[in-house]
């Protein structure tokens, strides 16, 4: 692709000013005439039936408009299919206010709608719900033995067993095995979940929703309320973080729309922080790993079995284990994964779902193997470096992991590490250095986009994708400016609107590859038409040129070989009497690819730990990432920084605790659910290793949304071991675990 100079340059967010000045509006900030406010009443029990909902006291409060319950609500669809959104796992999705069944603690059981939010909230406290309790089961650890292989999962655990891992383990010179645990985590984006449903008439509704997919929310609402999809419009131009929590339509959306349609007026529903702990979460997970190696460190056996959790009504499962078959060269591999069904809400994707969990366990086990084999942990990874995808038996389209190790280690100063645990010290503090590998799929999914060039040189680029924070608006702008040869300020990027060209939810690190490929195709189509117009001009200096022979820059179409041969875009459009050129395009992954596509990273961590008190400080981190082409190094680095901070949280802080007696998460606010604060975050160096990939997609991009969190927790856990000689295998690593003997 020709380089006009926008792609690959660190570029500030085009929406940055709107965000810091408050003009960027979020779902709960749209004020419309006659807006009413809803407040959700949540179930206090984990399992059973609602016998009675007493609403009289609440209804008597001045300003209360109505209270919706399963006994009093508009008609809702009755088939599971209607409730299945674009990313729904197999099963029977939650149906808010559908019937009297309680499936988990915190389930919405009523919506109080009033003239003011405070009135709704007060009235909600007067709604009294009587239940018929049933015994609940919420203890993941206790139910572990009852875990089963999901029969429903359409994408079951890959059966990639190969060789004879048990026998190989027995004869291995070096063996390690261990159990690794990660607790339930909640996404906790800053912005609360909210939906403002703008009532227009009986046949149409517009909703501002907090979502990672405007079209996913639109389809869900339309299907559940049995409306034609083209009568529902969902907008989410700005999203204040989501991390996966906004992939599926959350209940605020349906409740706001349901109330608006019933009341024939606009309704906003905002969830509280406490209610956000009733949405999806990262499943707790337990891993059993057994690794065997020759005395030189070559892996001979790799076994990884993992258990996750799900609800009674859906089988949510992400692949924790297939990375074990992929990351390192090994002839004998055994994988297994099972699920425990509990009386909890269904988990959902949370940053690098499956990968972050799997890599935590794998990379800690590899660290243990390094000590057992008396090898440097980095050396062990290099000894077992895999140049091909052993599952599919094919090469990678690109894999610069070796370079990640090299550059990361150099920046960190890894060669100065004393291999002995407890050997490095700084005053009262033990110093530990640890490292880990990160891996994530470089996916692409079908997406569409539209590009419009007008005669005044302005470009509008549009797709129904989202920008949940990574900088989607910005690289869309850069890409269009680069391809059509116009300044950044001439480009307007539109997204977060279900009426725009089809796009998937923003997740999985696949937005840039998917939507970017579609924008690329749309801009190519505009280029093609422009070139045609230029060539129709009398005596055109571009006569006979093919699209690949020209470059679009500075408002001109130029011959690459002879820059003096050029036509201005304006002249070409004038000559062709074209006021605007509008092109829509779609892109899909190459199904015939003979390559595997993955993103990689090498993560290095330094911790300093007070020897007596166990207080841990993560003083330095280096994350070297190979993710194909980086369109915007500034926002991409910001993605990695945020994910590394998430990894620090995973390693040291984050945990949602269940009280089994109540079958309820009792960690319900940000005072109890700890994420890292500024004092917990020190130097983080992000390195993007150059990685050319001409096979993967026209832009050569892989995406960086997830990779920064993968391996980070393991690098920190390994550093903690190196510092203290104590191997804590259950996250988060809190000081009490270091005090245990």
């Amino acid at each position: 692709m020709p380089a006009a100079g926008y792609l690959g340059k660190p570029t500030s967010r085009v929406d940055g000013r709107a965000k810091v000045t408050g003009t960027a509006k979020y779902a709960a900030e749209y004020d419309v005439p006659g807006l009413a406010h809803g407040f959700v009443v949540s179930s206090a029990i984990a399992k059973g039936r609602i016998t009675t909902i007493h609403t009289a006291d609440a209804l008597a409060v001045a300003g209360v408009l109505d209270i919706f319950t399963h006994e009093h609500r508009p008609k809702l669809a009755s088939s599971d299919e209607a409730y299945k959104d674009e990313v729904a796992p197999p099963g029977s999705p939650l149906r808010p206010l559908y019937d009297d069944r309680i499936l988990f603690s915190g389930q919405p059981v009523a919506l109080v709608v009033a003239e003011e939010f405070e009135i709704a909230r007060f009235a909600a406290s007067l709604v009294r719900v009587e239940y018929e309790h049933e015994a609940h089961v919420t203890d993941f650890e206790a139910q572990r033995e009852r875990a089963t292989v999901s029969k429903q999962d359409e994408d079951p655990t890959p059966s990639t067993a190969r060789g004879n891992p048990a026998e190989a383990f027995e004869r291995a010179a070096v063996r390690v095995n261990g159990q690794y645990r990660m607790p339930v985590e909640h996404h906790n984006p800053m912005e609360p979940f909210a939906a403002t449903a703008v009532w227009e008439d009986d046949d149409r509704i517009t909703v501002f929703d907090k979502t990672q997919g405007a079209q996913n929310s639109r389809n869900y609402v339309a299907d559940v309320l049995e409306m034609p999809r083209d009568r529902v419009r969902v907008l989410s131009p700005y999203v204040g973080g989501a991390f996966g929590a906004g992939l599926r339509p959350q209940y605020q959306l349906l409740l706001a729309v349901l109330a608006a349609r019933a009341l024939k007026r606009s309704v906003r529903v905002t969830l509280t922080r406490q209610q956000m702990f009733t949405l999806g979460y990262r499943s707790a997970n337990i891993h059993e790993l057994a690794l065997g190696a020759d005395s030189d460190g070559s892996l001979v056996s790799f076994r990884h079995h993992a258990v996750g959790m799900t609800s009674r009504f859906e089988d949510f499962q992400r692949d924790f284990v297939h990375w074990s078959s992929l990351l390192y060269r090994c002839e004998n591999v055994e994988l297994g994964q099972s699920l425990v069904k509990l009386d909890q809400n269904t988990p959902c994707d949370m940053r690098a779902p499956g990968g972050a969990e799997g890599a935590y366990a794998i990379e800690c086990a590899m660290d243990e193997l390094a000590y057992a084999a008396k090898l440097d942990p980095l050396e062990l990874r290099l000894i077992n470096y895999s140049d091909k995808d052993q599952i599919e038996d094919r090469p990678y389209s690109s894999k610069q992991l070796r370079e990640c190790y090299r550059q990361g280690a150099e920046k960190f100063g890894w060669s100065d590490r004393n291999p002995q645990p407890r050997s490095m010290r700084d005053g009262n503090e033990l110093v530990g250095w640890g490292m880990a590998t990160g891996i994530w799929e470089a996916m692409q999914v079908p997406a569409s986009a539209k590009a419009v060039l007008t005669a005044n040189g302005n470009v509008e680029i549009a797709s129904a994708t989202a920008d949940i924070g990574p900088g989607t608006y910005t690289w869309m702008t850069q890409l269009a400016a680069e391809m059509l040869g116009v300044p950044l300020e001439n480009v307007t990027a539109k997204l977060g609107d279900s009426t725009l060209p089809d796009a998937p939810v923003e997740g999985g690190s696949f937005t840039t590859s998917s939507v970017g490929s579609a924008i690329h195709a749309a801009c190519r189509a505009v280029q093609r038409e422009l070139l045609g117009l230029a060539q129709k001009m009398a005596g055109s200096p571009l006569a006979g040129a093919k699209l690949d022979d020209v470059v679009f820059a500075e408002g001109k179409i130029r011959y690459k070989q002879d820059e003096s041969r050029e036509v201005s875009v304006a002249d070409a459009m004038r000559a062709g009497k074209a006021e605007r050129i509008e092109k829509a395009a779609s892109a899909a992954p190459n199904g015939d690819s003979k390559y595997s596509h993955y993103t990689h990273s090498a993560v290095f961590a330094e911790v300093k730990i007070d020897e007596q008190l166990g207080v841990i400080r993560v003083t330095r981190m280096v994350n070297a990432v190979a993710a194909g082409r980086i369109l915007n190094p500034k926002t991409a680095a910001s993605q990695i920084l945020g994910a590394v901070v998430g990894g620090i949280g995973m390693a040291l802080h984050e945990e949602t605790v269940t009280d089994q007696r109540f079958g309820r998460f009792v960690t319900r606010n940000l005072a109890d659910y700890h994420v890292p604060v500024n004092a917990d975050v020190h130097a983080i160096d992000v390195i993007f290793v150059e990685e050319k990939d001409e096979e993967i997609n026209p832009l050569g991009v892989k995406g960086v949304g997830e990779i920064g969190i993968v391996g980070t927790a393991a690098a920190i856990a390994n550093a903690v071991y190196h510092a203290t000689g104590k191997r804590v295998r259950d996250l988060p690593i809190t000081l009490d675990k270091l005090m245990r003997d």
Binding site: N428, V666, A671
Partner: protein, 338 residues
């Protein structure tokens, strides 16, 4: 959140009159805790009496050479006051160990004393809690109790008092000035907060008709040998697992006077006079620190998740006493433990 009335007190006497006439009313100053409790339906005041306009925001020297701190002095102003920095750095340090700058800007001195526990169950109205609903039971006993008390607990409640500032005030032997219908009285800090006993709904001995008007500090501030060491689950903006306030008066290597108060371990800032007495007249040595720590923790008892706090408190006391004796108090900016 319930429906409530909002009123504003014109002076201290008016505040007392208003609170005395409505037992379900609450004073509001910074609101940093009360508003959260109201949103969660844990506090349901009939009315809020806004006291932010009362003239209680001065810091003055007292006749005996101590300091009188108005109840409405914001936490952040107090921590940075020149007299506090110079003479009572232990108090300033404890304040800076708590909350965030934004919260400290809002929070008042008097309100800090009246913060309620951060027990998970106290905040969750779907669960039993004797402090919130007397007689309903204590969910923390047999439940999730990592943050809970190890000293002075009762079968009815194992909650902790969450304040950092109060731990320093306990060590400094501050006094609380309160005004009620029967006039002003001065309460020794040790007598201000209560242990849960069989009335865990009562956090303090402040009477229903009383308003805190000031805190008085005695002249001795232990500015030379002090520390506030707070140990928590992240490096800032978290409640203490264990915190230790120490003030020592050392002369020629011998401890003349010792103050040692613990936070995060009990329903009130925890002091043990016997442990302090063991230090007094003795050299500042590790052996003596060990004995003091053992004395403080002799009656300590864990409830499962918080068992580690006993050993953590022991180690924390040793470190804090060493910091104070060395004259190298814990920095609240640099999180490395000295």
């Amino acid at each position: 959140m319930n429906n409530f009335e909002y009123t504003r007190a014109s002076d201290v006497a008016d505040a007392v009159r208003r609170i005395a006439s409505d037992p379900a009313a609450k004073f509001v100053a910074g609101g940093t805790n009360l508003i959260d409790l109201m949103k969660e339906n844990v506090a349901r005041p009939s009315r809020l009496i806004d006291i932010t306009h009362l003239p209680l925001d001065q810091i003055d020297e007292t006749q005996d050479g101590g300091l009188r701190i108005g109840a409405l002095v914001p936490n952040s102003d107090l921590a940075q006051h020149p007299q506090i920095e110079a003479r009572y750095p232990l108090l300033g340090s404890a304040i800076l160990a708590g909350a965030s700058p934004q919260l400290r800007n809002m929070a008042s001195t008097g309100g800090n004393l009246l913060q309620r526990t951060r027990c998970l169950y106290f905040y969750d109205t779907t669960t039993p809690c004797n402090k919130r609903e007397p007689g309903s039971g204590c969910s923390a006993i047999g439940g999730i109790n990592r943050m809970h008390a190890i000293l002075g607990t009762s079968e009815h409640c194992i909650a902790t008092h969450p304040s950092d500032m109060c731990v320093a005030l306990a060590a400094l032997e501050a006094r609380v000035l309160a005004t009620g219908r029967s006039g002003e009285r001065s309460i020794a800090f040790a007598e201000f907060h209560r242990l849960p006993g069989d009335t865990p709904q009562l956090d303090s001995n402040l009477r229903a008709d009383e308003i805190i008007t000031a805190i008085e500090l005695p002249p001795e501030g232990f500015a030379k040998n002090y520390t506030y060491l707070k140990i928590r689950d992240r490096l800032s903006y978290a409640f203490a697992l264990v915190s230790i306030a120490v003030g020592l008066d050392i002369e020629g290597g011998t401890i003349k006077e010792a103050r040692l108060a613990l936070g995060g371990v009990a329903h009130k800032p925890w002091r043990n006079r016997e442990a302090e007495a063991r230090l007094e007249g003795a050299p500042a040595t590790r052996e003596n620190f060990v004995r003091a720590a053992e004395t403080v923790l002799r009656e300590a008892r864990g409830f499962g998740h918080n068992d580690f706090k006993i050993e953590l408190a022991r180690r924390g006391i040793l470190r804090a006493l060493a910091q104070a004796a060395r004259g190298t108090p814990q920095s609240q900016a640099d999180k490395r433990i000295r």
